[in-house]
């Protein structure tokens, strides 16, 4: 099994960068429990709008596949090679991504402009790097709530 357990260092607020078809999604590192290979996802009997299940902590958790625009996909693109298990209180949810990295993000924080802010957005803010790469900051709680709303759960 190709599993990378994320170490937690509470004194250092590191972030996880999930890359989804060119979208850079930033979450606090402590909200990612584990990174699994997407091949570990059991696609049998997938729930509504999910693409399968991932086992963790002797339970199975739903896995969702998102597009670059953060809409739900029912067909998994070949480039989604990683499953990030995000932690929401005592529950988990798998999010497929192309790549995941742990880093101390460097960039300038920008609030989402008022004219772009939808009530159900999972985004907390935007971060622009020195190379003008845009990253979208979220949290496990907001992302999970957004995905479950999309899935109608």
């Amino acid at each position: 099994m190709n599993t990378q357990l994320i170490n937690h260092h509470p004194e250092v607020e590191k972030t996880a960068r999930l890359t989804i078809s060119g979208l850079h999604l930033i979450l606090p590192q402590r909200e990612i429990r584990v990174l699994e290979s997407a091949s570990e996802v059991d696609t049998r009997e997938a729930g509504v709008f999910s693409v399968g299940w991932i086992n963790h902590d002797q339970k199975r958790w739903p896995v969702y596949c998102l597009s670059q625009q953060l809409s739900l996909l029912d067909t998994v693109p070949a480039e989604r090679r990683v499953c990030a298990l995000i932690k929401i209180e005592n529950n988990y949810m798998g999010i497929l991504c192309d790549n995941a990295s742990i880093e101390s993000i460097v960039g300038k924080w920008h609030d989402i402009p008022a004219s772009m802010r939808l009530p159900d957005t999972p985004l907390l803010g935007l971060i622009v790097s020195e190379e003008n790469i845009l990253a979208c900051a979220s949290s496990a709680e907001r992302l999970a709530a957004y995905v479950l709303r999309l899935a109608g759960v």
Partner: protein, 149 residues
């Protein structure tokens, strides 16, 4: 590439063409910069008329597609203009960007040209301060404050 537009001494407004037969004007001081082939950045889960941001002088500006805002189809044009606006003169200037179909044209507007808003674009009532007839066409004056709300 950044273009410069020269304004004639008598002009007091810029005529902006947003595509899909949507045109409007802003005051000459509102339009700050014209940018050709801008590097806009896409933001997910945003309204279809405002899905991109543009990095300008270390500020991240929302890029508004006015034609889509009025009910047209969303577009990504090659041209945008940076605008600065304020609700009151004492307020801090706020900034945004507008997609344009064509470069702005400097025109002169007077009170005698006042006319009703274009009937076929009823949504203008929410986003226009006033309206005047330019070359026989009803042309709204944009209220950027409400456009960027």
């Amino acid at each position: 590439m950044q273009n410069k537009q020269h304004i004639s001494p008598t002009a007091n407004a810029w005529l902006l063409d947003f595509g899909q037969n949507v045109r409007a004007v802003v005051g000459t001081r509102v339009l700050l910069q014209l940018v050709d082939s801008p590097n806009v950045l896409s933001v997910p889960v945003a309204p279809y008329h405002c899905r991109n941001v543009f990095l300008w002088r270390k500020k991240l500006l929302p890029v508004m597609d006015i034609a889509a805002r009025l009910g047209g189809t969303a577009q990504n044009t090659r041209l945008l203009t940076v605008v600065g606006y304020q609700h009151h003169e004492t307020e801090t200037v706020r900034f945004g960007a507008l997609f344009l179909e064509k470069p702005p044209v400097a025109i002169n507007v007077t009170d005698t040209q006042f006319c009703p808003l274009p009937e076929e674009q009823s949504n203008w009532s929410k986003f226009a301060i006033s309206c005047f007839a330019h070359e026989g066409v009803a042309t709204p004056i944009i209220n950027l404050d409400t456009i960027f709300m």
